[in-house]
Amino acid sequence: MKLKNDDLIFMYKTMVRTRKLDEITIKGLQEGKVLAFYHSSQGSEALAVGAASFLRPDDYLWAHHRGHGIGYILAKGGSGRDFLAEHYGKATGSCLGVSGFHFADPENGALGAAGTIGSVFPMSLGWGLAAKKHGRQQVTIACFGDGGSNRGTLHEAFNLSSVWKLPIVWICDNNGMAQYTPITDAYAKDDIADLATGYDIPAVVVDGMDIIAVHEAVQAAVEKARAGEGPSMIEAKTKRFREHSIGSPDVVHNQPRTDEEIAEMKKLDPIITFKAKLLEQGVLTKADVEKINNDAEAEMAEMDQFCVDSQIPDPSILNTLVYAE
């Protein structure tokens, strides 16, 4: 699909909204409104928005856990307000305030989110199998990190997705860090994509800070999957701007990451570089950029107020949720 100017603007807006939602969630955590924890996605917005934009609503999405999936969710048409309300523990949240930080929006193909890293593999395999059985050319977008790639479940699912030619696009957000452990101490090769080719799954490595590169790679894989040509894998090399979990130490093993190191990373900020590109190409004006920024801020302020004003769930719902009728 050739991206039109409106598409580029949608992608830029969605990245800005993702960053603002990330920031307000961090603020909410610091103010005690967010009840659990939060794993910031700052630095991986280009991957999330590039991967999940312009999919079909009935395509299944397993979002990456960074940002608890926000970039993917917003790009796929999910509600930021439902996301934030869930984090605030409110009945208006996407899971009625019961999960605390998971997100589900089946109408938009987001069937749920997990707490255990690496469970993406068997579960997405199930969604891919269902997509194939349905016969409606749906695809499953299944995202994991370099940390998740260390799980043995990857083997079982990569293998069978290839044997059964399932319509799955495996996407690895490789930011080089699994909590405090660098990839160099967790994986023997340079590219995680090599794991896929071992199962005869075509794989590419892209610059995860470049939204267009990500989008083109994912769309090519999506088209193949829709055509019944089986799974693909995309490894996106990204940067993790923040600590693993907000408030946790920002360390490599036990050594703090330096300010210089972080500053160097932030020169690659995908929102800033994409903005510069769109300004240069004349797709956006400075006034447009300002309006997008202001609109996103206003949206977040409104969301925050809505979530603050929302009720906490009535505990009587608990008994209705364990088992279906």
Binding site: L111, S119, A130, Y323, A324
Partner: protein
Amino acid sequence: MKEIRFVQAINEALEEELSRDEKVYIIGEDVQAGTFGVSTGLVHKFGPERIMDTPLSETVIAGAAVGSAMTGYRPVAEFMFADFMYVAGDEIFAKAAKWRFIHGGTVELPLVFMASMGGYAKLGAEHSQSPESMFMHTPGLKLVVPSTPYDAKGLMKSAIRDNNPVVYLFHKRLLGLKGEIPEEEYVVPLGQADIKREGTDVTVVATGMMVQFALKVAEELKEKVSVEVIDPRTLEPLDIDTIIESVKKTGRAIVVDEDTKRCGVASEIMAQIMELAFDYLDAPIQRIAAANYPIPGGFMEDYVLPQTKDIKAAIEAIAD
């Protein structure tokens, strides 16, 4: 009525439900051939797309079942031995059991996890376990443990039609057991205990193979003690009312469980009897279960798993 073996009863239930609902499919290792015979032959009628053989990939078998159930399928995932379900712990205990709950009821998980269970076959520690307590312990799972061909068929049909994850454990030593079932279609609802033998002196609660043990002992003791044998048939939901009603009548209760004694199913049922019928008890509740060891292979198995002589001794002692 017709006479049928336990293994055929399960096979009939699967065949009927596969015919009834095209969303039902079976997935597991060698289900086309059928390791225990429960799914044998179905591939001829339903094809390999619905009787899906997988390699040795338990996490994917469970994940495929959970994932596809969320999108409208009704998979029956087969694990061969219940012991192998531990490999897929995350998919069973975290995903299947919790995902409807934690996602605010936005998804449903109509699926069956099926496996053989139990010992008395001298297959050693990793092919003989009775892991009911782990499933019963986990909110979100239902648990079926049939003891007769009639129940095996009727409960499997209910398990497949249920909109929740149901663990269905069939005892590998019961597969050859013959019993009568109706010619016409029937189901056995989940959560309804069955009084397998009526009696007035002692209540024995048991599931699976232990029901057959208890019935044998009750028959042997019939001149001396009138034993009532209650089979809950499903441990979640548990029909505690039928158990309590029996205990109120007999005043004496023994819970027999092939699972490990410590924190086992028997412990839970005893606790509920204590909570609900303490004033009716004429003697302390007895519990017969496997010793707190891994299940050994060879001749040593007999010293760990509950035996009919243990049940007999307990009944004689409590009735005395």
